[in-house]
């Protein structure tokens, strides 16, 4: 029974990673950049939600909407001010700018909300479900995270395959110049991608802090890195890949903490990542792109 409980916990944390990884993967697939500030957008989202419920006293559903709106605007602003001017320059330049943005967000959060941890109240009010005489406990947070992440994945898959904007995104990620020649507004497509990625980050932030209730300016950075590895793990650029990578990463993390060692869980998680990349260099569900000479 214990093993199933760990599996459930792993899937739950993995589902949060998956939502963050979806944001990473979309931005990487379309703008071809590693957005290191993504983890900090998560943190901003969580803070907004925290403020709306605790200071304004509004219901948690409103706080989630507020977080999504603020993060979407934030994502578009960051993209327009910091990344857009650097389009077409080597990837490293944008990477460093993203790091600068990440520092900026973390320190701005520290100025506004101070560095002392805040106790985030979960947005879920449902009582935990006990199964098998209490041997198996499924909390409301677990159910919510899993449902939301599945919904997000299905929604995104539908969006990218059926809608005009989604198709434009796929075209831009395939070949930016050709897409432009076909009359696709590349800049607007990339902005939309950032908006979606940041909105997902806000949702992930609220879910993350509902599961792990301490909220600090650095809350987003480690889950950000982990979700990034999850995206690479599943094959960066692939939507089902990000989902699979996130869930697997969560399960591996929980199991290694439970059965092997708590202290070495980081080392184990990253070792698995390295092994996967060596065996399948494009990730689990990634496309192996042939190099043209």
């Amino acid at each position: 029974m214990q093993i199933i409980q760990y599996l459930i916990n792993g899937i739950s944390i993995g589902a949060v990673y998956a939502i963050i990884a979806l944001g990473y993967t979309m931005v990487y697939g379309i703008a071809k950049m590693l957005n290191f500030a993504h983890g900090d957008v998560i943190m901003v989202g969580a803070y907004i939600s925290f403020c709306v419920t605790n200071y304004l006293g509004l219901p948690s559903a409103v706080s989630v909407v507020a977080a999504v709106v603020v993060c979407t605007v934030l994502g578009i602003t960051i993209e327009g001010l910091a990344y857009k001017p650097l389009r077409g320059t080597p990837g490293l330049a944008v990477l460093i700018t993203a790091i600068g943005v990440s520092y900026f967000l973390q320190n701005a959060a520290q100025l506004i909300w101070s560095s002392s941890p805040k106790n985030f109240t979960s947005i879920v009010t449902m009582d935990p479900i006990s199964l098998m005489d209490g041997q198996l406990v499924i909390t409301g947070e677990v159910l919510l995270t899993v449902c939301v992440s599945v919904a997000v994945m299905v929604g995104l898959t539908f969006f990218t395959s059926k809608t005009r904007t989604g198709k434009a995104m796929r075209a831009v990620s395939e070949d930016r110049d050709a897409a432009q020649l076909m009359g696709i507004n590349v800049n607007r497509t990339i902005s939309t991608t950032f908006a979606i990625g940041s909105a997902l980050a806000a949702i992930a932030g609220v879910l993350l802090c509902s599961t792990v209730p301490t909220l600090m300016p650095t809350t987003g950075s480690m889950p950000g890195i982990r979700a990034f590895t999850a995206a690479v793990f599943g094959g960066i650029g692939s939507i089902p890949g990000a989902m699979l990578g996130g869930v697997l990463l969560g399960i591996i993390e929980t199991f290694s903490k439970a059965y092997l060692s708590t202290q070495f869980s980081d080392a184990i998680v990253f070792s698995v990542l390295i092994i996967i990349l060596l065996v399948k260099p494009a990730g689990l569900l990634g496309k192996q792109v042939q190099e043209k000479v």
Partner: protein, 360 residues
């Protein structure tokens, strides 16, 4: 005509290298003079050794990122290996080598060799990957190294030297002393790092890296960076050269790490995390990729900048972030560059026009 071009090119290379050495030596002499004249405040004195360490780290990472074109996000891991092995070596040799400077040198070389060896072991699988995947794997290795160092115990007791990598504290006989104490890090370090030794480290790093760049190997490495397939097709063994650069870079980072570790009375593994790797990368990119003197200058300035802004307290890191973004935009964005050059032209006026004319 061709030979003339070649000699000119060589001269230009030699000139840039000489300039790099000259700047470093001049900076050292000035600082040393101010130091001996007691014109430096104690906080400034405290920056000197870390600056040397970060210069070496930036130059060695530049070999990897700028010259090889391989993005590595795990440089701090090698620094950490060098730091902790250097600390252990210095503690073990305490009675054998009473001379501080000599012991420091041994610790630095020991740390460098160990980091280089780990670099080799990691390089075998990692260098099969390229681009962003290489970046993520080096990031993963950096975190793994940090994690392992954070669970390492080393100590001396009557029966000799003990070392263990485990989650539980390694027992020592009574009277034994821990050198590395797991998550608490290394404590009670004898601070033997000195500024002149930092200067020697910087010179050594420059010597190794500049010689490597301007050698046959260096040209091969650059050829691999600019066009891997073309380089491969003319018979350059790509993997061997990448490996060489990777190991040399790890070795130098290890040496710098040892000096860094022996500059503080206690060091924890969490110091050598992803953020430190990123900071070193920022030095390299802002200094100019492949530009060694640029790395030296930017490492110094960017290390001093947050310290100098300390009086602004909470606002200093925000300012640092803004400076970082603005500098990146000014140096890379085509639009901003164009705008700046228009201003430059207006200010430069006639002089610039004349220059352009003479070139034509």
């Amino acid at each position: 005509m061709k030979t003339k071009m070649n000699t000119l090119l060589k001269n230009k290379n030699a000139r840039t290298n000489a300039l790099t050495y000259l700047v470093v030596i001049a900076a050292f002499l000035v600082t040393q003079y101010l130091y001996s004249a007691d014109a430096l405040s104690s906080s400034v004195k405290g920056y000197l050794i870390p600056i040397c360490v970060y210069i070496s780290l930036a130059v060695s990472l530049n070999l990897l990122v700028g010259i090889c074109g391989e993005l590595s996000l795990g440089h701090a891991g090698f620094m950490g290996i060098g730091a902790f092995s250097g600390i252990v070596i210095a503690a073990l040799l305490k009675d054998t080598i009473p001379n501080d400077a000599l012991r420091l040198l041994c610790a630095m070389f020991g740390g460098g060799i160990l980091a280089g060896a780990v670099g080799f072991v990691i390089g075998v699988p990692v260098l099969r990957l390229r681009g962003d995947y290489l970046a993520i794997v080096t990031l993963a290795f950096g975190e793994i190294l940090k994690n392992i160092i954070g669970n390492t115990y080393a100590g001396i007791d009557e029966s000799g030297f003990h070392m263990a990598i485990s989650t539980t504290k390694m027992p020592l006989e009574t009277g034994g002393k821990y050198i590395i104490n797991g998550p608490l890090g290394a404590t009670g370090i004898q601070k033997i790092a000195t500024f002149p030794m930092g200067f020697v480290l910087v010179l050594f790093t420059l010597f190794v890296v500049l010689n490597l760049i301007n050698s046959k190997e260096g040209r091969a490495i650059k050829a691999v960076r600019d066009n891997r397939i073309a380089a491969e097709s003319v018979g350059i063994n790509v993997t061997a050269f990448r490996m060489k650069a990777f190991v040399v870079s790890a070795f130098l980072a290890g040496m710098a790490g040892a000096l860094f570790g022996l500059n503080y009375s206690s060091v924890t593994a969490s110091k050598f995390n992803f953020n430190t790797s990123i900071n070193i990368l920022v030095f390299v990119v802002l200094g100019g990729m492949g530009n060694i003197l640029g790395s030296v200058i930017s490492a110094t300035l960017l290390y001093v900048l947050p310290e100098a802004l300390r009086s602004l307290q909470d606002y200093r890191m925000i300012l640092y972030a803004i400076v970082l973004i603005v500098v990146m935009l000014c140096t890379w964005s085509p639009k901003v560059k164009e705008y700046l050059s228009v201003i430059g032209d207006k200010l430069g006026g006639l002089r610039k026009k004349k220059e352009v004319g003479s070139h034509e």
